[in-house]
């Protein structure tokens, strides 16, 4: 079996074709910081075979509603059937934000890579924010 690291040698007992269970990720998430720098809230919702992500922004230089993007799901290891991380990209016009998310002990950690595309006077920037799940 092809691999580029030892951790890739193990197969899923049930087969990857069954898809990953997003139960740890789905729901509404609110920033732990009441004055967030980039993202105020997140909704993660299961579609037919994918996870859809809606972002409510907090940066005054970016839209408040980022819209919806499909999130790609990832497990903790090659043999797991549960999704615990995702990656999603949002095109915000003159900027683009690549988001990576993962859940640790009930906290959703979002790491953002926001890239300037239109030459506006701000640097492409990196950020990390924390979210808790609400009903």
């Amino acid at each position: 079996m092809n691999h580029v690291a030892l951790e890739q040698a193990q197969e899923h007992a049930l087969g990857a074709a069954t898809g990953l269970d997003p139960v740890w990720l789905t729901g509404n998430w609110v920033n732990t910081n009441a004055s967030p720098s980039l993202i105020r809230g997140i909704r993660l919702e299961s579609g037919q075979s994918q996870l859809m992500m809606r972002v409510t922004g907090a940066d005054p230089g970016l839209p408040e509603d980022w819209g919806v993007a499909e999130a790609q799901l990832f497990a903790e290891n090659t043999a797991s059937g549960e999704a615990m991380a995702f990656s999603a990209a949002f095109d915000l016009g003159g900027t683009e934000s690549l988001l990576q998310g993962y859940v640790v002990k009930g906290v959703l950690v979002i790491v953002s890579f926001t890239r300037v595309k239109d030459g506006r006077e701000r640097s492409s920037s990196f950020g990390k924010e924390f979210f808790y799940r609400v009903p």
């Binding site: 690291a5 043999a79 615990m84 640097s123």
Partner: protein, 132 residues
């Protein structure tokens, strides 16, 4: 070492990137994932090379251009994060790294394309600086 990627680092010249341009070793010597990382600057372009954990000889992933560099905030010119991608044919790996207080945090999103019974997976590992 073969340079796999050909796309230049977008806007890397606009950033001060010395905190990233180093050789790095995993803080976990028993890692099953990524053992070592090297980031170097070549004519204004940043390149990354990876050594995967292997039994016996190291598994060299080759060298690719870093796609984009990111500052610590929108007003800063201090580059401290990056994105790069490896295309192995059977596997695509998206790497997202950031340096903070001398520690490189590297997140890797692995997507298998070979139809094997392996789940796409995410790893997050930590690296300290080592001599080149």
């Amino acid at each position: 070492m073969e340079v796999v990627g050909t796309q230049g680092t977008e806007r890397a010249q606009e950033f001060e990137t010395s905190s990233m341009v180093r050789s790095w070793a995993n803080t976990n010597p028993s890692t099953q994932g990524i053992a070592r990382v090297k980031i170097r600057s070549v004519e204004g372009e940043l390149r990354i090379s990876i050594e995967g954990a292997a039994q016996g000889a190291a598994c060299h992933w080759g060298e690719v251009a870093i796609e984009a560099v990111y500052a610590e905030n929108a007003a800063s010119r201090r580059g401290m994060a990056f994105v790069a991608r490896y295309h192995f044919g059977f596997l695509e790996t998206l790497l997202e790294g950031n340096v903070n207080a001398g520690l490189l945090v590297l997140a890797a999103f692995h997507t298998f394309l070979d139809g094997s019974r392996r789940s796409n997976y995410f790893s997050r590992e930590f690296f300290h600086e080592v001599a080149s």
